[in-house]
């Protein structure tokens, strides 16, 4: 029985069960390129399914990667029928909430100071800079998708791929289900005792706080179950073959395991493969490749039951759908520096 694990993401790309794919790692290692590549390959391999690529990084790069503008509403990638992209914009989302609050205020006929305050976008200003607001809004987006999938309203996608923020933010985002569940449990105890009084605080808008909290609790629990189901959710770690990146990857993997989240794939980016490139080879590349090889051997030893995908450093930038498609093929079929070496010089210049 062959116990070796394939050095590619073919099983993930052709998976029919996965609903949530997270792509994360240290800053600057190629998360966006990798997440775009995974999304493209999944869309190409499963043309009958719909895929959504969401960026949860406050410093969005999806628009730059594809060379077209994406916003808070999902929009199809030009040239692909079944792949859409979305960049969650906290300030825009908060402005929407602010406007909703204003219109609700007007409906109730309140023309007091609160309405005027909200009119000026005060809610967005107040809450926009709270640490963790980006993670909270991304999480709300996830909840919205689960709801729309269940109810069949609006666009529903078979798989959602997340281009996440650098490690710390992502871990905080992934902790939200647990954190919220504990918070809601405590709230539940309080509302159980003080429910009617809390409802009266809500005023004439007849909000059933207890009911809302229960609904939120159920949704959060659904998400927690989905995120810890290895058939539904997986995390792909992206790194480069250097000590700091590997150390952070190791910490990330241990944290994910502690959250019961499936992680079995690592993409090692920016590899030089200098010994196979006789034509373009300098002393610096040889030295760096020697250093990279040292760590690659360690990675193979340390993560022997992971899919370790080795991706080359290309001669040009990987921007635009064509370049991303060319690059992403090596996620499905492992890069062979001898056979595929020319590809890295064939990337188009993107203006």
């Amino acid at each position: 029985m062959d116990l070796t694990v394939d050095p590619n993401l073919h099983s993930l790309i052709t998976s029919t069960t996965h609903k949530w794919v997270f792509v994360g790692g240290k800053g600057g290692v190629g998360k966006t390129t990798s997440s775009c590549s995974i999304a493209i390959q999944m869309a190409l391999n499963q043309p009958n399914k719909k895929f959504l690529l969401i960026s949860t990084d406050p410093a969005h790069n999806l628009s730059d990667a594809f060379g077209e503008k994406f916003g808070k509403d999902a929009r199809k990638v030009t040239g692909m029928n079944n792949l859409s992209c979305m960049e969650i914009d906290p300030s825009a989302a908060l402005k929407d909430m602010n406007d909703m609050a204003v219109s609700r205020n007007d409906e109730n006929g309140d023309s007091d100071g609160l309405g005027e305050l909200l009119q000026g976008g005060a809610l967005a200003d107040l809450t926009g800079s709270i640490p963790g607001i980006d993670e909270a809004l991304s999480f709300m987006e996830v909840m919205k998708h689960i709801k729309s999938q269940e109810s069949g309203d609006g666009d529903s996608y078979d798989t959602v791929i997340f281009d996440t923020a650098p490690t710390g933010h992502t871990l905080r985002f992934l902790q939200l289900p647990n954190t919220l569940a504990k918070l809601l449990e405590k709230f539940g105890e309080i509302t159980g005792k003080l429910g009617p009084m809390l409802n009266s605080f809500a005023g004439a808008s007849n909000v059933d706080i207890s009911g809302k909290l229960n609904e939120l609790k159920e949704n959060v629990e659904k998400i927690r179950q989905q995120f810890t189901n290895p058939d539904l959710t997986t995390f792909v770690c992206v790194c480069i073959s250097e000590f700091l990146s590997l150390y952070e990857t190791e910490r990330l993997i241990q944290e994910l395991i502690s959250y019961d989240m499936d992680v079995n794939s690592i993409i090692v980016n920016q590899l030089l493969f200098a010994e196979f490139d006789q034509e373009h080879n300098c002393k610096r590349c040889q030295a760096r490749w020697k250093m990279q090889t040292k760590y690659l051997d360690q990675i193979d030893e340390l993560y022997e039951d992971f899919h370790v995908v080795k991706m080359p450093l290309c001669a040009g930038e990987i921007r635009g759908l064509n370049n991303l498609t060319k690059f992403s093929q090596f996620l499905d079929k492992a890069y062979d520096p001898v056979a595929d070496g020319k590809v890295i010089y064939e990337l188009e210049e993107k203006n």
């Binding site: 000590f243 150390y247 190791e250 241990q254 360690q298």
Partner: protein, 233 residues
């Protein structure tokens, strides 16, 4: 020597011994416990701590960059051992809590209460006599012989017209006062030994020299300045 003094010295010695060895009590209790479960848990905890120390030392001797895989595997073992150690500590604490409670009761009954009873019942026993009754003032004689309670009772006795020293035949030092002095001497000796031999030396603070001296002006320079002010006026 009077049996009261012998017992008092014994109690003081035992208390001091328990005080000096307080860091080892938990270890002794877990090792010498009659309950097998506690002994096994303690032994397991010791093994885990020893193993963790060995792996930690090995990791410090290894270059993280040159042996990244081995270093990381050791780190994983250390993380796992940390969790196991915490669990083991919690289990041991849980198992030995009843025993600790029992030992505290034993200490209370066998040491604290008897010592207190001795001080209360035999506190006025004269440990040694003073050479002369008029060696110290009357009030001090009373304190030495009858203990500190003499002070608050003195004004009461005076108001009632009772001679506070009526039953004072020979002046001496009572057990309670003598114990007070004895324990104070021990504490002082402890402090001196601690400061002289056990505490790390505190380096003498260095006073920074003032390197920027004010330049002393020569008479000619002062004259020039004066001229300048006059010009300004």
């Amino acid at each position: 020597m009077h049996w009261v003094v012998i017992f008092a010295l014994l109690f003081v010695s035992i208390n001091k011994f328990l005080q000096y060895t307080s860091n080892y009590h938990e270890r002794w209790v877990s090792k010498l416990s009659l309950v097998k479960e506690i002994r096994d848990l303690a032994e397991n905890l010791r093994k885990l701590i020893k193993e963790r120390k060995a792996i930690y030392e090995e990791n410090r001797a290894v270059s993280a960059q040159d042996n990244y895989a081995r270093w990381t595997k050791n780190n994983r073992k250390i993380s796992k051992l940390d969790k196991d150690i915490e669990q083991s500590k919690a289990a041991l604490k849980n198992a030995s809590s009843k025993q600790e409670h029992l030992l505290k009761r034993v200490k209370l009954i066998a040491l604290t209460l008897p010592f207190l009873a001795l001080k209360l019942l035999k506190g006025k026993t004269i440990v040694y006599d003073l050479p002369a009754n008029d060696m110290f003032p009357m009030i001090m004689n009373g304190i030495l012989t009858k203990g500190l309670l003499y002070i608050p009772l003195l004004p009461l006795n005076i108001v009632r017209g009772v001679d506070p020293n009526k039953d004072l035949v020979t002046a001496g030092v009572s057990l309670s006062v003598w114990l007070m002095g004895f324990t104070k001497v021990i504490d002082t000796v402890e402090f001196i030994i601690n400061q002289l031999f056990l505490m790390p030396a505190v380096p003498e603070p260095k006073h920074e020299k003032n390197t920027t001296k004010e330049k002393e002006l020569e008479p000619k320079e002062i004259e020039e300045l004066k001229t300048t002010e006059a010009e300004l006026d």
